[in-house]
Amino acid sequence: MKSKLLISIFSIAGLLLVCGPALAHHGNAGYDMQKMTVINHVTISAVEWTNPHCEIDFDAADEKGNVQHWIVEAPPPSELSSKNWTRKSLNPGAEVTVYFHASKNGALYGIIQKVIFANGDILRAYPDPK
């Protein structure tokens, strides 16, 4: 059975996202900002367009085909609006690729960097790493 999951993990030394122009409300200390996690073919299950952070739920299958449920935070609506997001940009059922920094403790949480749609459209929450 062909796994739908493809995880790529990039180690990026000296990542400076912590000092980027749009700090998360609680800072980034709980996430591994040195490592970018990329998961293809995730299915968005919920989007909460709210303060203090927008929250994006998605499901992804692991190597064994078990579905993992992730929740990643994004900036609040006022910041995402400045990056051309609307509350309907990302909807339940969408299949996308998610770039994020995962929680340091291994739990299924993270802080999103960007989302790429099947047609190539990109929604960035934070700048691409340099």
């Binding site: 609680h26 709210t50 935070e73 006022s78």
Partner: protein, 264 residues
């Protein structure tokens, strides 16, 4: 006949009496903060956006905060207080922050509200300048034609008075409580903080804020900071701090992120 005469005289007199007030409201150059009848008031219009985490000129990214490389003139007790805090940014950044604006939705206060990546705008009238903030969503008034009260009550935002000096709006604020942080990296202040903010448009799309922190109870000498703002054409998007929404985020995400790693 007598009554008709009085009525016919009262109405024109009332109109004449109201004219100076109308004139003062429509001619900004007649504001009492600028005695010269020909002087112009600087145009501070626009939607201005700042950036975190501090006003420090030598360390705007806040990475040196509280270290030996930090040139802020702390009183010893102030530095101890800073180092005991758990801010969201700086060398002591923690995810489980005790920052009062995060933990309690406390007012973010001055001048820290100018560090958030949200927009603000000025509304300039002769007697008051108002600043409307997307963050909050809140607003401040700056009295342009009076002095500070002799003994203002300590409040979150203090008492602000202002004047124009050429192309600069100078805002002078006292009467703070000591509950807010000056910036995102947690610099404290006392209730004797005397804050001076100078706003000057440096070009069509940029505004400069020069801040003077005069707080001898918390700092050994006056020190200064700076922030440059740029314009946006985006409309306001509400950013209100809600304890119920904070609790929701805490339960949905924060607790899980702060939990110890699961043993494999």
């Amino acid at each position: 006949m007598g009554t008709k005469w009085i009525l016919s005289a009262v109405v024109p007199l009332a109109l004449l009496a109201s004219l100076p007030g109308i004139y003062a409201q429509t001619n900004l150059s007649r504001g009492t903060s600028d005695p010269s009848p020909n002087a112009t008031v600087p145009d501070l219009s626009g939607r201005w956006v700042g950036s975190p985490p501090s006003f420090s000129i030598t360390d705007p990214g806040g990475k040196k905060t509280g270290t030996a490389a930090d040139d802020t003139p702390y009183q010893p007790a102030t530095l101890a207080k800073l180092r005991a805090e758990k801010p969201e940014a700086g060398p002591n950044a923690t995810f489980d922050s005790d920052d009062p604006r995060i933990k309690y939705c406390d007012p973010i206060g001055l001048p820290r509200i100018f560090l958030v990546p949200n927009q603000f705008k000025f509304i300039q009238t002769p007697d008051f300048v108002y600043i409307i903030f997307e963050y909050g969503t809140t607003g401040l008034q700056i009295a342009m034609n009076r002095q500070h009260p002799a003994d203002p009550d300590p409040t979150w935002w203090g008492d602000s008075i202002g004047r124009y000096e050429g192309d600069t709006l100078v805002v002078d604020t006292i009467g703070f409580n000591d509950k807010t942080w000056l910036d995102h990296v947690g610099r404290p202040h006392s209730d004797e903080l005397h804050l001076i903010e100078r706003f000057r448009r440096i070009d069509q799309n940029h505004l400069q804020l020069d801040v003077t922190f005069d707080d001898p109870k918390a700092y050994t000498k006056t020190w200064t900071g700076r922030k440059i703002f740029s314009t946006t054409d985006r409309e306001f998007v509400e950013h209100s701090c809600s304890m119920s929404e904070n609790e929701h985020f805490k339960h949905r995400m924060l607790d899980g992120i702060l939990a110890p790693p699961k043993s494999k």
